[in-house]
């Protein structure tokens, strides 16, 4: 039971990184300027790297799982536990950066608190991932300001992106019995604490960027239960293609 809960907990972090990493990799060769193309693919590399380490560890925890590739590429849709937020389409650059900012702001506090986990692996992982997340956060939060207070057109694009993406942010703070069990052992993080800090920071930053906070919010929490948006099937078709076509293939 204990192992199962830790497995599920790590899988959620890993799937968020994996799917967001894939989404960001779609920008490769399409960035608005060369530097931004490189930045977005660097982000993607970091997220896929995080997922790789976490899936490796998951494979060690489960006796019937051979390796990280099996977890990454051969699960069914309902077995992926990522947030809807990270599977949303990239949209334009404004939408990608806004999704990134909301997620980075969550991750920076999440990894910061997880750095004190009583689980040795999670503690070491969080301390390591926090360093690169700080660079992500700096980058995405600067873009929010730059575009928000840039021109009337860039502001309009950011506002549209915010109206679309913000309503998916509630799910970041979803907790169930897995979280409660691990919080009680000082392994997991109490997301309610992060929610308070996150909301305050995000509202302040978006307001500074001349953006209006939309009031509409979703109240469904489905990603962690393996239910996904209509976009997810297309992502899986892409990422699973090689393993499904050539089973057990390796680079």
């Amino acid at each position: 039971m204990q192992t199962e809960n830790i497995y599920q907990y790590i899988l959620r972090i890993a799937d968020d990184s994996f799917i967001l990493g894939h989404r960001l990799s779609e920008w490769c060769g399409h960035g608005p300027i060369l530097e931004e193309d490189i930045a977005l693919t660097n982000f993607a590399l970091d997220f896929i790297g995080q997922a790789n380490i976490l899936y490796d560890y998951c494979a060690e925890l489960k006796k019937n799982v051979t390796n990280a590739d099996e977890i990454a590429f051969l699960r069914k849709e309902i077995e992926y536990k990522n947030l809807i937020l990270v599977e949303l389409p990239n949209g334009d650059f404004a939408q990608t950066m806004l999704r990134q900012y909301l997620f980075d702001c969550f991750r920076i506090h999440f990894f910061d608190m997880l750095s004190n986990s009583s689980d040795d692996f999670l503690q070491a992982f969080a301390q390591k991932a926090l360093l690169e997340t700080k660079y992500h956060y700096k980058h995405s939060s600067e873009w929010i300001l730059r575009l928000g207070i840039g021109t009337s057109l860039s502001n309009e694009k950011m506002q549209n992106a915010l109206n679309y993406v913000m309503k998916y942010s509630n799910e970041l703070f979803f907790m169930d019995e897995v979280d409660q069990d691990l919080i009680s052992q000082n392994i997991g993080v109490d997301l309610a604490i992060i929610q308070t800090i996150w909301e305050k920071e995000v509202v302040a930053h978006l307001t500074k960027a001349n953006l209006k906070i939309p009031s509409e919010k979703n109240t469904f929490y489905v990603g962690r239960k393996g239910k996904h948006s209509e976009f997810f099937g297309y992502i899986l078709t892409d990422v699973q293609y090689m393993q499904r076509t050539y089973p057990n293939m390796q680079w």
Partner: protein
């Protein structure tokens, strides 16, 4: 008779594939070496979680040391790698190679590796590899890579 110092010396032959002048010892990613009669255990720590060079480095170490004895290379997350673990020699090598070595704190000015001017500006925090940022010197106008402060 092989002693631990010999192993460390051998490891200086293994270079970071993305910065081929810099040894993994000077990069600070060899966290420990254990020698037990003929069995060698080397622990290495990744610079970034996403460092794609780790497996290449692991294979290189195994290939090199298997001439001495049985080798096991472990990639571990702890201790945490920071840019402060790069040796002084390593920083000198980076600079000669044209990469500005990492500062020990985020607020220090980045120095141009060619003309030593501190009159430089950040082009992008994300460069040719995960560990580097892209800068330009205002004095000699050369663009250059900066090995990011990471701690």
């Amino acid at each position: 008779m092989v002693v631990i110092e010999d192993i460390w010396k051998e490891l200086e032959e293994v270079k970071d594939p993305e910065i081929p002048v810099l040894s993994i010892v000077d990069l600070g990613i060899v966290s420990s070496v254990q020698l037990d009669s003929t069995r060698i255990v080397v622990q290495i720590i990744p610079t970034y979680t996403s460092c794609p060079a780790m497996n290449v480095i692991k294979n290189e170490i195994t290939k090199l040391l298997s001439e001495i004895g049985e080798v096991e290379v472990k990639i571990v997350l702890s201790p945490k790698w920071t840019s402060d673990l790069i040796t002084e020699k390593g920083k000198k090598i980076l600079k000669e190679y044209g990469i500005s070595p990492p500062n020990s704190d985020f607020n220090q000015e980045v120095e141009c590796p060619r003309c030593n001017s501190k009159d430089t500006f950040l082009v992008s925090n994300f460069g040719s590899t995960a560990c580097k940022a892209h800068y330009k010197c205002k004095q000699c106008l050369e663009p250059f890579d900066y090995f990011k402060c990471h701690k």
